[in-house]
Symmetry: none
Subunit: 252 residues, 2 copies
Amino acid sequence: MDTETRLSRIRALAQAEGKVMATALAHDLDVAVQTIRRDLRQLCAAGLLERIHGGAVLPSGVSNIGYGDRRALNRDSKIRIARRAAQLIPDNASLFLNIGTTTEAVAHALHAHRNLMVVTNNLNVANILASNPSCEVVVAGGSLRRSDGGLVGDLAALAIDRFKVDFAVIGASAIDLSGDLLDFDPEEVRVSQQVIKAARATILVADSTKFTRKAPVKIASLAQVDHFVTDRVPSEALINRCADWGTKVALV
Amino acid sequence: MDTETRLSRIRALAQAEGKVMATALAHDLDVAVQTIRRDLRQLCAAGLLERIHGGAVLPSGVSNIGYGDRRALNRDSKIRIARRAAQLIPDNASLFLNIGTTTEAVAHALHAHRNLMVVTNNLNVANILASNPSCEVVVAGGSLRRSDGGLVGDLAALAIDRFKVDFAVIGASAIDLSGDLLDFDPEEVRVSQQVIKAARATILVADSTKFTRKAPVKIASLAQVDHFVTDRVPSEALINRCADWGTKVALV
DNA sequence: TCGCTTTTTATCTTAAACGAACATATGGAC
DNA sequence: GTCCATATGTTCGTTTAAGATAAAAAGCGA
């Protein structure tokens, strides 16, 4: 069984059961425990699972924000990126925020903005922005994905279809050096694509660790992005390509 | 049972009961008391519980459980009503929970139910049920109303239109003695009406203070309700009328 | 207050799980 | 063919979870 298949099997099982055990997985998928551990580590790096002794569980996500500070992965970079992205957004704007911890950081960074209209399919973002009284929050419907507070499914797509916003602020699970934005979930990808289409400008927020990650589904290309806010771009070639595409890169 | 599961079970129990005892937990979760103590210490360090001799309680002061004071109003009645309503709902059911503090209490009371499918337009309900891993949560979209975490507007109506559930669990702002259910917000009323239509059975949860309130918009009549769970019905005549209508009244 | 019981903390122990490093395929690119 | 990257398995020292035990602390009734 190849890695890709194994990862999605593990993800499916985790979604179904809430948790997975390393040794059990090793037995079921007929690979060494060490291999499973590597898989779990990868899935955790992408924020899809959280390690526990003996296996992994779905991230606490929605259920307990501010429980541990597990969310603190690359926290400083994310905050800096979020602040810069927030600067790109003027008061009185309408925008979309999708799923991802970086977009959640953007939601935090928008606390001082006035009179925004924010559409989101991220329950955490909704909770965060609820504390900004001068901001209308519209929640796109959908099935709650506990791992990250995302609302997915065709309900979300249906809802987003009714909006045309000034900015789409999107995250991505991975970015490859050719400039493709990647994600794990085809459903979420569909939403992201729809959002990019429905927005007058697209802002991509992603820290540089995303360049070392992998994910199976393509969201879009950096060519379709207007502003790319990140902490480091590992390849000079990619920066040049962004210039050609007209994608403004903001390094923080 | 792994640590993570144990911690969330303890949290859920603490939310439901208000306090937990170390020895009882050790017995229930089938681990040594020592282990439970370690768990409690961890939860307290995170500020989710407070130690007392023999166990732990919900932190006093800060309303972890409640946002406004309204929630504290008639808290005991609401909890009793919610528990009774939860008994009416079997495992594996699909249901709708609308806006209101009493329906939020029902969401809490459903913490031990298995395999539910819950549709809600109440952000608080979504947050509460997110901690029950064996429960699919579908959020109906809409504009966030900060006063009560409700999602309102035609987006919500659009979403609900796509479901047919076993139970509608609804609250009401007021009930008058002729048996009419009333609310303040015409938009929310539209959602509630739609929900009643889309459900095979309707459960109304409302404490007796609702009989002394007034509200301008009519949701429905008690005649359309299958189960009415409350703590007191002030009028003998209304009880008789419910009997005529086939509305089962459960007093707690 | 004293003394008894229960609970808590501290420390130790065992078995399981973990990560790092190394070894071994596997499959292109040249 | 060689070289290189990647994926997987293996070994080994380290870490962690959780039960057990004994001493300290807290609660409680007389």
